[in-house]
């Protein structure tokens, strides 16, 4: 039995009075590809945002690589983690956002190089070479000196993926990465994710509305509904053979 790289134990999250997540239990093994589907507002994005430390859980534990993410031991008691602890754990996690969030004051190459250079303090020549290789891999070798504002949405999202990959994360999070794109640009971004999923051995968690894509690349699909995991299993189990009514309704609306 391989130790899971990410574990959620009874994780709850509320924003003010609204309970978004009501007890999430989840294991993700290294190199596992997990797709999270579900109606909007079901808390899909919140799950990965908590893992990226962008939101703090209201209760429960998130374990990353054997370390409790949001809590740390102090004088024998578990206390709320401070920034130093979060930074140490966060280093294994990378994220791609719905709205790209590229740095507009840096060129494409600088966007990729800045974190390895200034966060990991790696040697510049090596970082540059790795960044160029990664940009080549996402098909943007000819754009390295341009600024984000000069690119299309699909190209921006591919840069965002290269930028995250250069950090060599063990866990990659994709937050509805095609939702902000024009339909004709979705394909090129999915193609890159497919390539990463096939060739890289990191764990991937994708929040997505692309059902066929999820079916295609995910080892495990989670159906999130009203703050709980209502159904989980292999892609074909969940998407094709589940008897969960809410899920059927959801899929039906999607394919209609």
């Amino acid at each position: 039995m391989i130790e899971p790289i990410v574990t959620f134990q009874d994780v709850h999250k509320s924003f003010g009075n609204s309970k978004v997540l009501k007890g999430i239990d989840l294991d993700i093994r290294p190199a596992e590809k997990v797709a999270i589907i579900g109606p909007s507002g079901s808390g899909k994005t919140t799950i990965i945002r908590m893992l990226m430390t962008l939101e703090e859980p209201t209760s429960g534990d998130i374990i990353v690589n054997g370390t409790n993410l949001w809590k740390m031991e102090k004088k024998g008691r578990l206390v709320r983690a401070h920034e130093k602890h979060l930074r140490a754990v966060r280093g294994d996690i990378g994220m791609v956002f719905q709205h790209f969030n590229l740095f507009p004051h840096m060129t494409i190459l600088e966007n990729c190089m800045t974190a390895p250079l200034h966060v990991k303090k790696e040697p510049k020549a090596e970082v540059k070479q790795r960044s160029l290789e990664m940009l080549d891999r996402v098909g943007l070798a000819d754009k390295v000196d341009q600024y984000p504002s000069q690119l299309s949405g699909g190209q921006k999202q591919r840069v965002a993926m290269a930028r995250a990959l250069v950090m060599r994360p063990k866990i990659m999070l994709f937050d509805e990465v095609t939702s902000a794109l024009d339909p004709e640009l979705v394909g090129e971004v999915l193609q890159v994710i497919r390539d990463i999923a096939k060739n890289d051995d990191m764990a991937m968690i994708l929040v997505t509305h692309e059902m066929d894509f999820a079916l295609d690349i995910a080892d495990k699909v989670l159906f999130l509904d009203e703050g709980v995991i209502a159904e989980q299993g292999s892609a074909s189990e969940v998407i094709e053979h589940s008897s969960n009514e809410r899920l059927q309704e959801f899929l039906h609306r999607f394919r209609a």
């Binding site: 990226m52 430390t53 962008l54 920034e83 930074r87 966060r90 280093g91 996690i93 990378g94 994220m95 956002f97 709205h99 790209f100 969030n101 590229l102 740095f103 507009p104 004051h105 800045t114 974190a115 200034h118 966060v119 600024y147 984000p148 504002s149 000069q150 930028r163 995250a164 950090m167």
Partner: protein, 236 residues
């Protein structure tokens, strides 16, 4: 009747020019002080402690609502008489503190407006890439926050240059102070004060043009539109 005299003009000109170095030095030192102290207000206000934030907001409001001349007089004349903590400061230092602190409260607002232009997504990307607090500010936030504020910061430089003559009231020997003394000694104010006005004009006007150029150059560095629309999206 005291008519315009070129003899007086020629006599007064070199004497007044002598004060220019002081006027310029005071402007620059006050400005740098205000730029640095502006950050101080900004970062103090970010400390998540309500009482402190309230105190600082109130202090800034107080400083902005009282005339700089009153602050200058207080620092120079009244501060040395404050029991226990008070001590005398020379004219130049008093002027730097008085004008510098006054303008720093405005500069802090300029910084704040610049930082608000940086969208929420930029902060999240910095976190996702695991930037330290310091690097996040120096590499991601400030390089985006400062360029849009360059024109406003430049305007404050020109405004400050024009406010610096206030220091003549406590005896800093800038051009206005010298022109005034010259007028008192020779019973002619027309020529020396005209010289002062001309000097201010020929220094302010090109500065405005330089700032304008700088603004265009900064905007070229990256597409400003993108940052602005993104920040609107984030606040919506």
């Amino acid at each position: 009747m005291n008519n315009w005299s070129w003899d007086v003009f020629v006599d007064a000109f070199p004497k007044i020019i002598d004060g220019l170095a002081i006027t310029l030095a005071l402007t620059i030192v006050c400005y740098v002080f205000a730029l640095v102290f502006g950050f101080f207000w900004l970062f103090i206000k970010m400390i998540p402690l309500n009482s402190l934030r309230w105190l600082v907001t109130w202090m800034m409001e107080f400083i902005r609502s009282t005339p700089p001349l009153v602050q200058l007089f207080f620092i120079y004349f009244a501060w040395p008489m404050v029991p226990v903590v008070g001590f005398a400061l020379d004219e130049f230092t008093s002027a730097v503190l008085g004008l510098g602190i006054h303008f720093s409260t405005y500069i802090a607002e300029v910084y704040r407006s610049g930082i608000e232009v940086v969208g929420k997504g930029q902060w999240e990307a910095a976190k996702a890439l695991n930037f330290s607090k310091r690097r996040k500010w120096t590499k991601i936030i400030l390089p985006q926050a400062i360029p849009p504020t360059i024109p406003m910061l430049g305007n404050y430089l020109i405004i400050m240059f024009k406010e610096v003559p206030l220091a003549s009231t406590i005896g800093v020997a800038g051009i206005l102070h010298i022109a005034n003394s010259y007028g008192a000694q020779n019973w002619t104010y027309l020529e020396p004060l005209t010289i002062v006005a001309i000097l201010f004009l020929i220094l302010s006007y090109p500065s405005a043009i330089i700032i304008n150029r700088l603004e265009k150059k900064m905007n070229r560095r990256f597409d400003k539109k993108e940052t602005l629309t993104r920040s609107k999206g984030a606040t919506a």
